[in-house]
């Protein structure tokens, strides 16, 4: 019997937390917004999300098999990526759009760099950027206006940038009854999901609050505050701030680093929205800050307990 005692090094107990549980929480937090988009944009939104998830998971299995690595779909991170890619396409997009987006996200942005934990940019956003540059028409049309049920190409941010159309009411914008990509429109339900993640300790409040706050403050400077609510609730900011910018792998580790990162994302978002060519800037600004993250982590480190007496 004695030979069978395990003699590993301490600690001998572990917390209940697992990567899978964290990802499951993120999925749960995304569900309310998904329900809203099915309600406003129709059943086809759900179809797009499901095939996007299937494509993401299938790509993960395929790439890991090809690279002769252990298949890790049980950690559910591919499911999260699949949902987020679908959340970034218009509700009337062709069915193959999220498939290609998810395949790119998993194969190119994630697995080639070593799989979960090693991607240098958020895979879902990389997938979106790939779709944006490859099929810009499919990605910027096919929006649905839930108020009139008409196909529209003008999101509130596009209208603010000069596209034809009437700005929606604030209430509709808050509820999600506005044209937009599948997962971004219902600010209230995204915030509910985000608060769930904060409550569960999956994410901290820092990135969403600082990111959204920076955008709001800059909007205040631009036109005295008239556009604040449109900038905050009219585009992908809430989705991006709670669910994409907070991606562990591509955001800084320390609280101070997170503040710099989120403020940077806010500044870039407003630069793109007001001075850039696109009406929306959330995804590119997060991608930009993803790339800055290693630099932030290098210079913003926690203060050692008892100072840095040993520093050489």
């Amino acid at each position: 019997m004695e030979n069978r005692l395990i003699a590993s090094s301490s600690p001998h107990i572990r917390s209940e937390e697992t990567t899978q549980k964290i990802m499951l929480d993120v999925i749960i937090a995304l569900l309310p917004a998904l329900v809203a988009s099915i309600f406003y944009f129709g059943f086809y939104s759900l179809v797009l999300v499901v095939i996007s998830v299937a494509a993401a998971v299938a790509t993960e299995i395929a790439t890991q098999k090809i690279m002769k690595k252990e298949v890790t779909i049980n950690d559910l991170s591919a499911v999260v990526t699949g949902i987020l890619v679908a959340f970034n396409v218009p509700p009337n997009a062709p069915w193959w759009i999220p498939i290609l987006g998810s395949a790119f996200a998993i194969a190119i942005a994630k697995q080639i760099f070593g799989g979960i934990g090693f991607n240098f940019i958020n895979p879902a956003l990389a997938g979106r950027a790939f779709l944006m540059s490859s099929w810009p028409t499919h990605m910027t049309s096919g929006f649905i206006d839930p108020v009139t049920d008409a196909i529209s190409s003008a999101t509130p941010l596009a209208i603010m940038k000069g596209a034809e159309g009437e700005l929606p009411s604030l209430l509709n914008m808050f509820l999600g009854r506005i044209p937009g990509v599948i997962g971004e429109t219902s600010s209230i339900l995204l915030i509910v999901g985000g608060i769930y993640l904060i409550y569960r300790g999956v994410i901290k409040w820092i990135i969403p609050v600082v990111y959204i706050g920076t955008v709001a403050i800059l909007a205040l400077f631009i036109d005295g505050g008239g556009s604040i609510l449109y900038h905050v609730f009219g585009g992908g900011l809430i989705l991006g701030a709670f669910f994409m910018a907070t991606d562990y792998v591509t955001c800084p580790i320390t609280d101070k680093g997170k503040i710099i990162y989120a403020a940077g994302a806010g500044i870039f978002t407003m630069l793109i929205r007001t001075l850039g060519g696109y009406p929306e800037g959330v995804s590119y600004s997060i991608l930009l800050m993803n790339i800055v993250t290693p630099l932030i982590d290098k210079y913003v480190t926690p203060k050692l307990f008892g100072g840095a007496k040993n520093e050489k």
């Binding site: 069978r4 395990i6 990567t19 070593g114 840095a308």
Partner: protein
């Protein structure tokens, strides 16, 4: 009890103390033979003072070293020295030990006499008594107590902290000492305060031990300079530097000692033993140990004679209730896994924890997802995920720059990691390499 002291970082691990926290301390069985290692402390090992075949009595000094940083050992039974040999110890290595066979009489040695009133003892006399009695940190570290209590002249000590945090899950030995032996604790405090010349003492206790807090508060009521400091129940609250920070707000500098910020910290079990030494004159031959875990039939808090084998202690607790997976000396966060039960209880054995196979299971690690939970949990404010990676890549110079040597090996990072990565396990390797390199550089 509203006031609560704490530090930044740490983890909220499950306490697992229900099994034994209400169980009064019981006397352990009288062992038929004991194994007394000649080194149960940090510092120079002892030389045996007895020879094979010699008769010894309870409390008789049987090993001593001339070095200042050392602590003598005493016989915990009366009987005959059978062997002096290398014996496996719970610290993980083989140590020269004295094996004594009991005559069943427990005859007390002549040198064991009450030491009288503290008022009548001088500072140096108290320190001498403590040194002679073989006192070491009984929380597990095993640093000789008299060394701690003899700071160099240039270090002004103003605060004595009695460490009753007992932040390790499962363990309740210190808890029971405070509830049942508060008189000895108080006597020990008085002895230390006089020996060091401090006017201020905090008895720091985690708030998950309300009866201990209440008892100690009752005991020190009206005594000037001694107060109870309730601590948030959080691991590693009982780490020396963390407890100083929680109670006084001071930060012991990196690489420094508590005395650098005017503090001395002693485990409450050590303090109670000091009290017992003054009161009865009996040196350290017994200690309170929690025997518990998912594979122990009858968990207990036992007052065990040092040198008793784990196997005897486990037998007294009804043996294993199911197949054991791990047997630990100490708690689950920092305890050392044993590969045999034929090891003796030593001065630092705060617990004997027996986990079943399920609890002992070592999880499979997966990729780091950079969640940052280890960084938030680290009580030293290190970046465990980073140092661990440097260690795995054998980039020890980089690890030194990220302060791997400051790691206290509390295990909070590994505990919290959702990817189940062996963080402290790998950081330990880096730390070892760095310390070895520094040692080499000094030579």
């Amino acid at each position: 009890m509203d006031k609560e002291f704490t530090f930044k970082g740490g983890i909220h691990a499950p306490h697992f103390k229900e099994q034994t926290e209400k169980m009064p301390i019981e006397d352990a069985i009288e062992p038929k033979y004991v194994v007394i290692p000649l080194s149960q402390h940090i510092g120079a090992p002892c030389e045996p003072l007895v020879a094979v075949g010699e008769h010894v009595k309870v409390g008789q000094k049987i090993g001593e070293s001339k070095a200042f940083v050392s602590a003598p050992v005493h016989s915990s039974i009366s009987g005959t020295v059978k062997r002096i040999e290398l014996h496996q110890t719970p610290g993980g290595s083989k140590v020269k030990s004295i094996v004594i066979e009991s005559d069943g009489l427990f005859e007390v040695h002549e040198s064991v006499n009450p030491k009288g009133n503290i008022e009548d003892l001088s500072k140096d006399e108290i320190l001498g008594i403590i040194k002679d009695a073989g006192l070491t940190g009984m929380g597990g570290a095993g640093f000789p107590t008299h060394v701690k209590l003899s700071p160099p002249k240039d270090k002004q000590i103003d605060t004595f902290i009695v460490n009753g945090a007992e932040c390790e899950p499962y363990l309740t030995a210190d808890h029971r000492i405070m509830v049942e032996k508060s008189d000895l604790v108080l006597l020990g405090i008085r002895a230390v305060m006089k020996a060091v010349g401090v006017k201020k003492c905090f008895i720091a206790i985690e708030k998950n031990k309300p009866d201990a807090i209440e008892e100690m508060q009752k005991k020190v009521e009206g005594i000037e300079g001694i107060e109870v400091a309730p601590l948030e129940a959080k691991y590693p609250q009982g780490d020396e530097k963390r407890i100083i920070n929680a109670v006084t707000g001071r930060e012991v500098p990196s690489g420094g000692l508590p005395m650098d910020v005017g503090c001395i910290v002693d485990n409450v079990g050590t303090v109670a033993t000091i009290g017992n030494v003054i009161l009865t004159g009996m040196p350290v031959i017994q200690r309170v140990t929690t025997v518990t875990g998912s594979a122990i039939s009858n968990p207990k808090n036992l007052y065990i004679r040092l040198g008793t084998l784990f196997s005897d202690v486990i037998e007294q607790c009804g043996g294993f209730s199911e197949e054991p997976g791990k047997i630990l000396n100490g708690g689950p966060m920092m305890g050392i896994a044993q590969f045999t039960t034929e090891v003796p209880v030593i001065k630092g054995t705060s617990g004997i924890l027996v986990l079943n196979r399920k609890d002992a299971n070592v999880p499979e690690p997966s990729n780091c997802i950079r969640c940052g939970k280890c960084v938030d949990a680290c009580p030293v404010h290190l970046q465990p995920y980073l140092i661990s990676r440097q260690a795995i890549l054998k980039r020890f110079d980089d690890a030194e720059k990220t302060y791997a040597a400051d790691c206290i090996e509390c295990g909070s990072c590994s505990f919290i990691c959702p990817a189940k990565r062996p963080l402290v396990e790998t950081i330990r390797i880096a730390k070892k390499e760095i310390l070895a390199k520094r040692k080499k550089a000094v030579k």
